[in-house]
């Protein structure tokens, strides 16, 4: 499985998106699904850069794309402070404009956009975020 390393900068978000998009297309995902992968990976990467490391840090974001029989698996590795998305409460949605708060939306989007989202953290290997998107026809047949 190919892994590519990106330096931890918001300026790399477009490069990260381009990299993942190539594999999403190879995996046969349709246009809507490709956008979903782009958005989920962008939100995940932004979270790592902004909340994990602090901006413009020199460390790594390694991304592995695995084209599978039924879709695409994206794995993002980083060495930021351990952070478990499961501990973040879901944002309040469909609330009046004045009450909406910019909190937890990125993680909510990752969960909504992808079919599987799994997070693991260890002192040896750092943080590992695994996200899977299945092709629509496979999902529809489930």
């Amino acid at each position: 499985m190919p892994t590519k390393r990106f330096t931890c900068s918001l300026k790399n978000l477009e490069k990260i998106s381009d990299y993942v998009t190539d594999y999403a297309k190879q995996a046969g995902l349709n246009e809507t699904q490709v956008y979903a992968v782009q958005l989920a990976v962008d939100e995940a990467s932004t979270n790592i850069i902004e909340h994990g490391y602090g901006q413009e840090c020199p460390s790594r974001i390694d991304i592995t794309c695995d084209v599978q029989e039924d879709g695409l698996k994206v794995v993002i590795y980083d060495d930021a402070e351990p952070f478990n998305p499961e501990t973040v409460s879901e944002p309040e949605i469909n609330v009046p404009l004045d009450e909406i708060k910019p909190r937890g939306l990125g993680i909510f989007l990752m969960r909504q956009m992808m079919d599987e989202v799994n997070y693991q953290s260890s002192s040896d290997t750092g943080n590992t975020l695994t996200m899977v998107k299945h092709r629509e026809n496979r999902k529809a047949n489930k």
Binding site: E14, S17, Y35, L39, E50, N94, I100
Partner: protein
């Protein structure tokens, strides 16, 4: 990020292209604040050439809408399907009037 603004009698149209993400959302925010600083609170965001918008961009639009209302309004035009779907998914689509054509959006004011 290139941002164009066009002033009309009753509103200002702002247009940009490509991706809006955490790296350039602050630029969009600055441009919108500059429009509001001129006393304009009726704003049309022409999104016909915007291909991607992360939540960082949405927050800029939400903040702008909060500032413009109730005396004015930020409306969106020509939103790409993926962006529109994700906006609606999190219930943010309801915060904005949308148009398929800039001319209609300008005429709305």
């Amino acid at each position: 990020m290139e941002i164009q603004t066009t002033e009309f009698k009753h509103c200002t149209v702002i247009k940009t292209s490509g991706r809006i993400d955490g790296s350039n959302a602050p630029q969009l925010s600055q441009a919108l604040k500059a429009i509001i600083a001129k006393g304009v609170k009726n704003i049309v965001f022409d999104m016909s050439d915007v291909v991607f918008m992360a939540s960082a961009g949405w927050w800029v639009l939400i903040d702008t809408q909060k500032t413009c209302k109730p005396s004015g309004e930020l409306v969106l035009t020509n939103i790409e399907k993926g962006i529109k779907d994700s906006l609606n998914l999190v219930g943010m689509g309801s915060y904005f009037k949308t148009f398929d054509d800039v001319t209609y959006a300008v005429g709305n004011f």
